[in-house]
Amino acid sequence: MAPAAKKGTGDAGARDAEAALARSMEGYLAGQIDAFDALYAALAGRLRGYLLSLCRDASTADDLVQETFVQIHRSRRTYEPGRPVTPWAFAIARHVYLMHRRASSRRHRFEESLAMGASETDGARGAADTLADRDDVRRALAGVPPDQRQAVLLHHVEGYSFAEIAARAGVRVNAAKTRAFRGLKRMRALLARSDRS
């Protein structure tokens, strides 16, 4: 086949694929789960490749693909019927990646500040005391119910927002906030008890 004809076929193929995506998106907006499956099948691989090129870590890219589809689901009303689906989905994927990067850098800063705090404490009180404190924190954390522990760790250590934690746990945002609050409160009580003893 001549190159021009090949290019024409390629363009037509891309147009057909985009039209099929738009049909799936419209079905998805109408509430059809099959349409979501078709959308996932068509986009997941490409989104994974794109996210992998941004984050350069396969397992993070897999998580971000899932997160992108959650975000696509939440903002599916913003898709304008008749317009191409791909730029819309990729813009959401990029947003998810940027949010992830922001959360990671926040987590990194938190860990650095923890490390600095630990080294200062080490100088002042000695390594044995610091290790004992860490053990106390670990024990207190273990004494918190699992759902509250997860909320505390995800928000205060991993740096996830409550909306993200709620999405992961499949609960409302207020429930995620309450879990983290109650978890911290319980940890404080357990630490105070271990201080007294």
Binding site: Y28, L29, A30, G31, I33, F36, D37, Y40, A44, D63, Q66, F69, V70, H73, S75, R76, R77, T78, Y79, E80, P81, P84, P87, W88, A89, F90, A91, I92, R94, H95, S161, F162, A163, R168, G170, V173, K177
Partner: protein, 216 residues
């Protein structure tokens, strides 16, 4: 979360969803507000003294044109709030600069002299009064545009907020120019262009605040 988990979660939550109307149609929601501002500001305060001198077209025509430009910029802000439809950075900067320049351009096209201003002793209070009227008149359309933008998914909230702040400021200034007949550069720069620029900043801050609340 694995793919089957994701599918189960989506299936549990899946309901028909009506897509948002196109940005231009959503911006039309603000048309009654814009009309109320353009007509209301001079009605509540007073019409400028030289309305008869500058003529109907130069008075109302340019104000209507400026308000239409404001609404168009709000439509651009609503477009910016849709994933995949963001403006390129250069175009965004161009729209913002052009929007800020509109009040000066309208003045250059409509004023015959540029020395009509408040007397020396009251220049600041009168300038502040114009600034306040402009800012207060912009607030309803700013709030409404903020809500409309937040219903979509602004991936660059500060850019979207700057745009709808600018659009709201321009619409309010379109009404203000039917009331204020001062043409001195200092007054125009501070009270008119300054108020429009201030609304741009307020819009950006509002959008940033809404995004922070949404993320919690």
């Amino acid at each position: 979360m694995s793919a089957p988990d994701l599918r189960d979660r989506i299936a549990r939550d899946l309901k028909p969803a009506r897509p948002l109307p196109p940005p231009s149609r959503r911006a039309l929601v603000l048309l009654p507000v814009a009309v109320a501002i353009v007509v209301g500001v001079p009605l509540v305060n007073a019409f400028r003294g030289d309305m008869a001198v500058i003529g109907f077209l130069r008075a109302w025509g340019f104000s209507i044109g400026q308000a239409a430009a404001g609404l168009t910029i709000i439509a651009v802000a609503l477009r910016e709030s849709i994933p995949g439809r963001s403006l390129p950075r250069v175009a965004l900067a161009g729209v913002l600069l052009a929007g800020i320049a509109i009040p000066a351009g309208v003045l250059l096209l409509t004023a015959s002299r540029f020395d009509i201003g408040p007397s020396a002793g009251v220049a600041f209070p009168e300038g502040l009064a114009c600034f306040r009227v402009s800012a207060l008149a912009a607030l309803p359309s700013l709030g409404l545009a903020g809500l409309l933008a937040a219903r979509a998914l602004p991936l660059r909230p500060v850019a979207a907020g700057s745009l709808y702040g600018l659009g709201s400021g321009l619409t309010a200034d379109a009404g203000l120019r039917l009331y204020c007949d001062y043409t001195t550069p200092g007054h125009i720069l501070f009270s008119h262009i300054g108020a429009v620029a201030a609304m741009l900043v307020v819009g950006a801050a509002l959008a940033w605040g809404i995004e922070r609340v949404r993320r919690r």
